[in-house]
C-alpha cells in the first residue's frame, strides 16, 4: 500500500519543518493532490493517522485540494478536462494529449500551534 510510505514521508517532512520552526504542535497540513496523481485521499488520511502517532503531527488535520485533470491536445492545442491519462481530443480526435494539470502532489503549507505562555 503506497499510501503508507507516502504518509510516512509527509510526516517526516512536516515534523522536521516544525522542528526548524521552533517545535510547535502541528495543527493542520494543506495538501494538493491532483485527481491523476494516483493517490487515494481517503486511504492517505487513514495511513496518516497511523504514521503520525507519537509525533508533533499526531493531531494534525489534513486538508486536501484535488485539482481536476486537464489535457492539452498536441495537435490542435485545445484544452479540455480529462479523468484518465488516456484521452481523445474532442476537437480533432487526436490521441496525442498532454496532461497539463491533475498530476500535482504537493505539501502546500502547514499550521503550527505554539504553546501559550
Amino acid at each position: 500500500m503506497h499510501e503508507m510510505s507516502i504518509a510516512l514521508s509527509i510526516v517526516e517532512t512536516v515534523v522536521s519543518k516544525a522542528l526548524e520552526e521552533g517545535n510547535g504542535r502541528i495543527s493542520s497540513i494543506d495538501l494538493l493532490i491532483g485527481k491523476l496523481a494516483g493517490i487515494e485521499p481517503q486511504s492517505l488520511k487513514f495511513c496518516f493517522s497511523a504514521a503520525a502517532k507519537g509525533t508533533s503531527a499526531e493531531e494534525a488535520l489534513l486538508f486536501i485540494d484535488e485539482p481536476e485533470g486537464l489535457g492539452e491536445c498536441g495537435d490542435c492545442g485545445k484544452r479540455f478536462p480529462v479523468s484518465f491519462y488516456y484521452a481523445e481530443c474532442p476537437e480533432c480526435r487526436s490521441l496525442r494529449v498532454n496532461i497539463v494539470s491533475g498530476k500535482e502532489f504537493l505539501i502546500q503549507s502547514m499550521t503550527i500551534e505554539e504553546e501559550g505562555e
Binding site: K17, L61, Y85, L95, L106, S109, E114, G116
Partner: protein
C-alpha cells in the same frame, strides 16, 4: 523485527548477496538537503476549525513535492550513473510477468560486450538474485520487507554495495507491482514495463500511471498466445493511448522469440551514450 540480526527496524529494507549468508545491510536513513522551491500563484483559503486554540497559530508555507526527498536522491543517483556512463534500466511489472526470466535470457546475450550488473527487489527471499548469480554477473538483493516498491535510497545503498563498473549496464528489477513503483524515481535512464499475455489486453487502461511513466513496454510470453484470449493489437493500442511515446516489443522469455529485436535496440542505446 529483523529475523537475521534481531534489530527492531520494522519497515527498513535489507541488502543481501547470494551465497554470502553473513551479508546483511540495513538501508538506513541518510541526511538529506532540503532545497526550497516556489511555485507561482498564490493559494489562499481559510479553514473553519470548531475547536479553540490555546496557543498562537502560525502558517508555514512549504510548497514542496511530497516525494521531493526521493526525487532529490534519485537525481543524485542519475548524476552518478551519467558521470560513469552507466545505463540504468528499471524493470516493472505485475508479479510473475517474467522480469527475472527476461533478465536470465538477455544477460548472456549482452555481458560479453558490456559489463552487466543487477539489483533485485523483492519483499522476501534471495530467489531472484540467486537466479541472476547463476549467470555469473554481480547482483544484489534488496528485501523490502513490507514495502511494495523500491525507492531511491534503497538503490543508492545497493549500487554502492555493488561496485559498479564504468560504461556498464545496470538492470534494476523492481518489486512485482503495477501501482506504486511508477511513482518512485530511482534515477534510472529508462523505465521498462513488462506485461504478459496471460494478464488481459486492458492492463494498460487499468494501470495507466505505470504505462504513462514507462519508456518501453515489453509484451512477454507470446509463446502462449495460441492458448489465451489476448489480442496483441488491442493491447498495443491501449498502451499507446496512455502513452504515445511508448516503444513496443513482443517477446517470449521462454522460447527466445523477439529477443533479437530487443537486443538490437539496447545495443543501439548503449552505443548512443
Amino acid at each position: 523485527m529483523c529475523d537475521t540480526c534481531g534489530c527492531s527496524t520494522d519497515s527498513g529494507a535489507v541488502l543481501r548477496k547470494p551465497g554470502m549468508t553473513d551479508y546483511h545491510i540495513h538501508v538506513g536513513a541518510t541526511g538529506h538537503g532540503d532545497t526550497d522551491h516556489h511555485h507561482e500563484g498564490d493559494h489562499n483559503h481559510t479553514h473553519e476549525h470548531d475547536h479553540t486554540h490555546k496557543g498562537k497559530i502560525r502558517t508555514i508555507a512549504l510548497e514542496q513535492d511530497v516525494l521531493q526527498k526521493n526525487n532529490l536522491l534519485a537525481e543524485r543517483n542519475r548524476g552518478y550513473f551519467e558521470a560513469r556512463n552507466i545505463l540504468a534500466l528499471n524493470f516493472l511489472s505485475s508479479p510473475g510477468s517474467g522480469k527475472t526470466s527476461f533478465l536470465e535470457k538477455i544477460i548472456p546475450l549482452l555481458h560479453q560486450q558490456v559489463p552487466v550488473s543487477v539489483i533485485e527487489g523483492d519483499q522476501q527471499t534471495t530467489n531472484d538474485a540467486d537466479r541472476i548469480h547463476a549467470l555469473g554477473v554481480p547482483v544484489i538483493q534488496i528485501n523490502t520487507g513490507s514495502g511494495c516498491h523500491l525507492d531511491a535510497l534503497m538503490v543508492n545503498s545497493a549500487m554502492k554495495a555493488l561496485e559498479l563498473q564504468d560504461n556498464s549496464l545496470l538492470c534494476i528489477e523492481n518489486v512485482g507491482n503495477l501501482v506504486c513503483p511508477a511513482m518512485f524515481d530511482l534515477g534510472e535512464a529508462l523505465k521498462v514495463v513488462i506485461i504478459s499475455v496471460t494478464e488481459g489486453d486492458d492492463k494498460p487502461l487499468k494501470y495507466p500511471t505505470m504505462f504513462h511513466e514507462a519508456d518501453l513496454c515489453i509484451l512477454n510470453k507470446i509463446d502462449l498466445l495460441p492458448y489465451v484470449d489476448f489480442d496483441v493489437r488491442t493491447c498495443r493500442e491501449n498502451a499507446m493511448r496512455v502513452n504515445h511515446h511508448l516503444e513496443w516489443f513482443e517477446v517470449s522469455a521462454k522460447t527466445g522469440e523477439g529477443l533479437g529485436v530487443w537486443q538490437e535496440w539496447i545495443e543501439n542505446k548503449l552505443r548512443q551514450r
